[in-house]
Symmetry: C2
Subunit: 345 residues, 2 copies
DNA sequence: CCCGGCATCCAAACCGCTTTGGATTTGATC
DNA sequence: GATCAAATCCAAAGCGGTTTGGATGCCGGG
């Protein structure tokens, strides 16, 4: 309630030493129950709360987790990133940790990590959006900054801790569903394939095709930022081509909406003339639920991934020597209104 | 490069006092050019960077700005919020500030602000999504924590610093455009009207109507979270009603996409049979540009608002006594493909 | 009655930086 | 040559906590 009371004043008011007061408040055993009660009461009355800078300095732990996002990554990951952050943030505040986010120019990313380490700004960081040729983990290992990867780093699955969904399997299953429905010509609108997650999705798609002796047709496969127009424009182009696909496998709800728009503009009906399966990150502003979801989808909550990644990182921070461990989340394959048997079947 | 070098070691290596080294690095004048050079060189060689906790403690400034987002606010503001954050984050890192984000349970919001103040976690905060009956600013004034509002607090426009767009004017102009095109029956799909921005938009809509002697028809006015299904479901319902509107004024691109979907499902054509004007926050993953934008819109970059709000806040933090000042951004009215003359005109 | 042990509590060092209040040197002035 | 101011540099005192290494008092046991 009152303004700035510090430990010293508080202990004066109580005729106790700072040591005792500090111990009482932090739950150490060498303090009598009665004293502890008195201290708690007075602290409450004076509205005492320890200055976090001082505490951090004294303990040597910054009680914060860093997220550095280069501007470009951010551009494309926008909504997914926030949802992850939201999940992670819940975990942090539950454990008394702060979340600090650094938005940096692309060529300052490495610098940002170094600063976090040398200036002791955070006890650990999360690596977002690992690329196919990723190297941030090596830097972090070199400067000894604990981290967890959201996604996986090819070639470093064992030595790093990560939380990822099973991208390959999800897209394999989705492709199989389309094949089972009789679709033979399936377009893939993937995310940027220099990102690890997009590679895995493509692999799943191709695996499913080749398991049935089909060749992927690169003329109906795309890779780009997952915007709405990306979905619409590419779908439009393909639908107007000589051999249009009868189904689309899409990497994001947002682009899938674009695909649906293109289908509508061509005078076709989604789920009847043309099928769509999209990945659904369960973004709160793009709900795809209800009795029958609009889109048939592979769904995996990125928010949940954020929560779990944060928990994992806090564990590592608490005990840096613990062996790396990871979490592999499975996406659900949920049937909605956007799929149906291939036409003319 | 090396690991933990601190001021003490650095000054020892240089045979200088900590005072001098500190001053040399922080650009104080009472240090010779030669000494400053030597210091800089050695600091660079040893990879010295000041421990931020220690510095914060010594200076009494936390060099951080806080953003507290209750989970519920977050749910609905999701993508817009991140875009704002991204803008603000750029400004912070440019000025050496950290951005700390607290995701809290709704009933802990006040607590979060108090903690930031008493534990000195941040030098200031940004108030997000002010409601029609807002009170956070009173709390912040009481605990003396500098802040800037993203949006406006009704009744406190003078005494607070804020960055907002001209919501009323934007929707007034949009409505006028529709009226000029001959539309007489215009639906409003607004955001949650307990939020200040949505109230203002509604006001603009109603002002434009009444200026032409028209009464708003509440049967085609809605207020809700701005999701995609919200747009689709409500548009669908209205289009199937006895007196369907010929135009929609929508508060968000995401919902507008839903409206377009509904129009398509009814076998109508957007921009011909039915017009749409939406507000466009210029979200990076929902570009509405190109030669002719998909949607006619009122556009105002929320990212830019974030940059400016952050600058304003940093100014206030630097000089808390400065009088409050604010920034009123104007939205552009941009004609795209989603509007046309009222049918049968 | 004395001693060891436990329960409590405290003075002081420390975390790593900034900043105050001099001390010392240098150089120009008269 | 003495004086004063400017130019440099430094020792030490914070900032507000945590933590180490004892003190002190009280108790039962030998």
């Amino acid at each position: 309630m009152s303004k700035g009371v510090n430990l010293k004043e508080l202990s004066n008011r109580l005729n106790l030493s700072q040591t005792t007061v500090s111990r009482a408040l932090n739950g150490y055993p060498e303090v009598s129950a009665e004293t502890r009660r008195r201290v708690a009461e007075m602290a409450d009355k004076l509205g005492y709360a320890p200055n976090s800078q001082a505490r951090r300095l004294a303990t040597g732990r910054s009680m914060a987790i860093g997220h550095v996002i280069p501007r470009s990554i951010h551009e494309m990951m926008n909504p997914i990133f926030l949802e992850f952050i939201a999940g992670a943030g819940e975990t942090y505040s539950k454990h008394g940790y702060d979340m600090i986010i650094s938005v940096v120019e692309d060529d300052h990313e490495e610098d940002a990590y170094r600063q976090i380490a040398t200036r002791k700004k955070a006890d650990g960081v999360i690596i977002h959006g690992p690329a196919a040729n990723e190297s941030r983990h090596e830097l972090l290992q070199a400067i000894n900054l604990p981290f967890v990867v959201h996604g996986r780093i090819p070639g470093a699955e064992q030595e790093t801790s990560w939380v990822d969904m099973n991208n390959r399997r999800a897209f394999e299953r989705a492709t199989n569903l389309l094949l089972d429905l009789g679709h033979k010509r399936i377009a893939l609108l993937n995310g940027l394939e220099h990102m690890d997650f997009a590679r895995r999705r493509r692999k799943g798609f191709e695996d499913a095709l080749s398991a049935r002796g089909l060749e992927p047709d690169t003329s109906i496969m795309r890779s780009s930022d997952m915007t709405e127009p990306y979905g619409c424009d590419n779908a439009m182009e393909m639908l107007k081509s000589e051999h249009p696909p009868t189904a689309f496998l899409v990497s994001s709800m947002i682009s899938a909406i674009g695909v649906a728009r293109a289908i509508g503009q061509c005078g076709l009906v989604t789920g009847k003339d043309i099928s769509i399966i999209t990945h659904d990150d369960a973004l709160s502003f793009l709900p795809n639920s209800g009795e029958v979801p609009i889109f048939t989808c592979t769904r995996s909550s990125v928010r949940y991934a954020g929560q779990r990644a944060a928990e994992l990182l806090l564990d590592i921070v608490a005990d840096p020597k613990r062996p790396s461990s990871s979490l592999h989340l499975d996406a659900e394959l949920i049937v909605g209104q956007s799929t149906g048997p291939a036409p003319g079947r």
